[in-house]
Structures are given as C-alpha cells and as structure tokens.
Amino acid sequence: MRFARAYIRGLWDGRMILGYTLLLSLTVFIVVPFLMIALRSVGKGWFGRLWLPPQLTLDWYRWAVEVGNIPEVMKNTLIIGIIATAISTVIGIFAGWAFGRRQMPGKEVAMAIVLLPRMIPPITYALGVAKTFYTLELVDTYLGVALAHVSVCAPYAILVLSATFEGLDERVLEAADVCGANTLKRFFYVVLPLIMPGILASMIFTFTHSYNEFTLTLLTYGPHTVTLPVRTYLAVGDGYWEITSAMAVIMVIPSLVILAMIQRRAEPEKLVGGFKGV
C-alpha cells in the first residue's frame, strides 16, 4: 500500500514528462498510419523487413487514375456531396429555425424524434433504404445516393443550425428595428451576417459526412455512382495495397483541407455534435 502510494506520487511528480510522452505517443499513434499509406503509395518492391521502400515510383497513382478511374469517381463523390449538402442544409435551416426560434408544444419530443437516426446504427435502416430505393429505382442515381446520405447528414445540420439560431440575440434584432431597419434590411444586414458562420459550419460538416459516408453508399451505389470510399473498399477487396494506398492519399487530401477550414472557422465541438437533453 505504501509502495503503491509512493509509486503514484512519483508518477504525479513526473507529470510533465509523462504528459509530453503521452502527447508525443498520441501524435505518433494518429499520424503514422498516414505516413505508412503515403510511403506505400510511392514505394516499389517494398517486401520483407525493410523500414523504407527501396525504390520510389509514381506508377501506383497512374494505375489508380487509369484503372481505378479516380477522376470519374471524384466527380461522383463531389456531385453527390453537393446534392446531399444542399438538401440537408435546406432541411436544417427550416427545422433549425423552428427548433431554435419558435415556440411549440412538445419541442423536446420533436427534436428527439428528428435526431433519432443518430442513435440507431446506420446499417440497420440502410437495409430499408436500399429496399425502398430498389422499388423506386433510385439506386445508382446521384439523387438516390445523395438522399441516402441526407438521412445521416440532416440530423447534424439540424443540430448545428438550431444551436446557431438559438444563439441569435433578440436584442440585436430589436436594436435593428429601433434604428429603423425594415424586415428585408434587417434580414440582409443583421440576421444573415450573424447566422452565416453557423450555416457555413453546418455545410462543411454535412459535406464531410457525405464525403466519408460508406455504409449507406455501399447499399445504394451502382456502377455509375461509385464514390471514393466505395472505390477504396473495392480496391482493398482486390488486394492491391499499393493502388489502394494511392487512392487513399488522393482521398485524404480534401479531408485535411476541410480540417484546416474547421480549425480556422468553427468550433470542433460542433463537429462532434454533443447531445442535448437526450
């Protein structure tokens, strides 16, 4: 007991060193997998016990673009992402305004219902979505895949936007009224600048979700709507790790750009979308 206490005290005294060790190992833990992918995507003849690839090549990228059809896949992903973001944002603005600014009976219940898709694993309703889309012939269309993404993205948009609209200060609006602004003027010069960061953040997050969405895409995609995650999965199935790594590098760059944007413009807590009142 005394020994254990002395041990803990020793750990506590060395907390600075321990802390930096933790931070350093965390960085290694998170970053090294990307390094491995990047090395694998340019390495040639990298077998056996070697730390670094013996030869460098860009062949795998050529293969990824030619055989993996990356430009086409990238186009699909972007189109689907934009459609899904647009639909989710419209839903989010309307519902967020209702939840954030308007009084209604049973608001908590309505909110919980709309956010319910976040509590259930996507694969469970993805089955039903796929079945429905087969009968509606929405499978393998941009709209269909984007709509499937909306079921995941829209709750996030609602969550972020209702918080944004709730934070809109009533007194600022009244001040605009007092200063003689009419409704249109007030909207464009006061309300819009105040809510624009929230809307942008919501759009960034929904696009990220759509860009990364795999489960629902896998069940609703077709030969014409292969997105990047599905393409990567198919390449993994084929077993060509080098080409898969090249695809992964191409795919991860937009994500990192988005990350930089998030860091600059929005609070990361919103990305997580913490629960309120559930």
Binding site: V252, P268, L271
Partner: protein, 289 residues
C-alpha cells in the same frame, strides 16, 4: 413576412418549417426502418406471411450469440479505453502547453477522414511487416517473433479507439474548459493539494461531460461498419454480419439480415437508455455542470 419573424405567430408556420425535416425523417428513416422490421418477420424471399423463424435461427445459433457478445466487447472495450486516454489528454491540453493547438488538430484528424483510410493505414502500420513489428523484432530484446495485432480482438479494439476516441476527448475537453477555475482555486486555498483538487473537485465535476462524450464513442463503436469490414478478419460484429447476409449468399437473404438489424437496433436503444440513465445519475451525484 413580418409575421415570419415574430415569435408567437400561428403554429402553421412552425409546421411548415418542420415539414422538410419530417418528410426526410419519415421517408428516409421511419419508413425504411418499418420496412426492415416487417421484412424481418417475413419468410425468406416471400412477400407475404409472418414468421419468427429469422429471429429464432439467429438467436438460437451459438455463432449468433457470439456475434452479439463480440459487438459488445468491442464497443465497451473501446469506450473504456477512450475514456482512459481522453481524460489525461484533456487535462494536459487544458493547460495550454506548448504546441497545444497542434495537438488539438491531431485529435480531430480521425473525425474528418474516412474510416476506411484510417483502417488501411493502421493495418499497414501494425501488420506483420509493418513498422511496429519491425521495431519490436529489431530493437526490443528477447522478442524474435512478430506480434499479431491485425485481425485480432485487441487489435480491433485499438483501431476503434484510434477512430472514435475524439468524440470522448473533444467533449471532455470542452466540459473541462467550461469549468470555473475559481472553484479549483477555492479548493487550493482551503489547503487541498493539486492531486486532491483533481481527484475530489475536477473529476466529479467533469464526469457528466466525460460520460456524454463516451456515449458518442460507444454509439459509433457499436455501429462501426467500415473498420471491421476490412480489418476484422474472422471477427465479425453485428454490422458486418448483416452485410454478409445480403452480399454473400445468392439470392441475398434480406429477411435474415433484417432480423439481425432489428436485434442490433433494439440492443443499441436498450443499452443507450440504460447508459443515459446512469449518466443522469452520475450527473446528479457529481453536481451540475
């Protein structure tokens, strides 16, 4: 238009505002879920008739029960590890150590990148020929054989932690930062050591935040699909089992898959409500945030 901005105008506008969300909810979630439930009671490949056979077959099969247990082991294990990792990390990052902005960015990385990419990189790093095993066999004494990490349960838990711990970490950090520093100062003034302040003041106060964040990690880990699909090997949690039912056999066994999906959704809801209840209790005991 003026009425649009006024708060207490007719409820009709509220309904109109909620209409797209409700349409999306019923069309893209409720109806598909209902269809899944109905399908799970249909005999395989038929459009009429009712049966419990799909459930009986899945739940009476030892493999089926193992799949459920495995899903729980993975989800609970990775949630617990995420908490263990996140709390010290949040405590460090709160102190604004040198380069804390960089570390905050690092924590967010797994959130924005596709899970598949993370799994791919982790498989490459922890593989038999990856850097981890190279380091182990070349620099650590008495280790001559590579350690198996990929396609094992502990490896899978670690991959889950890599991918899903940011939920816990970000929430813990934000609840730590909203904590009033003067409470801790009051503790210190009253003669508590820093350790006592941490143990008896800070940790109880942020427990609700930690638990709320860990709920998100648990949900993500329970429903994880892409990672176990490519990195699970023979360990297939519920989500992968569902996908296997509709992708491997020909014709696809939609009813069997639906039954597993209903079991999975039900378990998730039950577990979440139990968890939420304990979170509330912890919140009540630990004081308000």
């Amino acid at each position: 238009m003026t009425a649009f901005w006024r708060r207490n105008s007719s409820g009709l506008i509220t309904v109109f505002l909620l209409l797209p969300a409700l349409a999306g909810f019923f069309g893209l979630f409720f109806y598909p879920m209902l269809l899944t439930v109905i399908l799970s009671f249909r005999p395989e490949g038929q459009v009429a008739g009712w049966t419990l056979e799909n459930y009986v077959r899945f739940l009476s099969d030892p493999d089926g029960r193992w799949v459920i247990l495995l899903t729980f082991i993975l989800a609970v294990g990775s949630t617990a590890l995420s908490i263990v990792l996140s709390v010290p990390l949040a405590l460090i990052l709160r102190e604004k150590v040198r380069g804390h902005r960089f570390y905050r960015l690092i924590v967010l990385v797994p959130l924005v990148i596709p899970g598949l990419i993370g799994a791919l990189g982790l498989l490459l790093f922890w593989g038999v020929r990856g850097w981890f095993n190279l380091f182990l066999t070349q620099f650590v004494p008495f280790v001559t054989r590579p350690m198996a990490v990929n396609y094992t349960i502990h490896g899978l838990i670690m991959f889950y932690v890599w991918l899903y711990f940011p939920y816990t970490c970000v929430t813990t950090l934000s609840s730590l930062e909203s904590l009033d520093r003067s409470i801790e100062e009051a503790g210190a003034v009253s003669g508590a050591t820093r350790w006592q302040v941490l143990r008896h003041i800070v940790l109880p106060l942020i427990t609700p935040g930690i638990l709320a964040g860990s709920v998100l990690t648990f949900m993500a880990a329970f429903g994880a699909f892409s990672v176990p699909l490519i990195a699970g090997g023979n360990y297939r949690p519920l989500s992968v089992e569902i996908y296997k039912e509709i992708s491997v056999p020909i014709p696809a066994r939609w009813s069997a898959a639906s039954a597993i999906a209903v079991v999975m959704g039900g378990l998730q809801v039950i577990f979440l409500s139990l968890y939420m209840r304990s979170v509330r209790r912890a919140g009540g005991a630990g004081g308000s945030r």
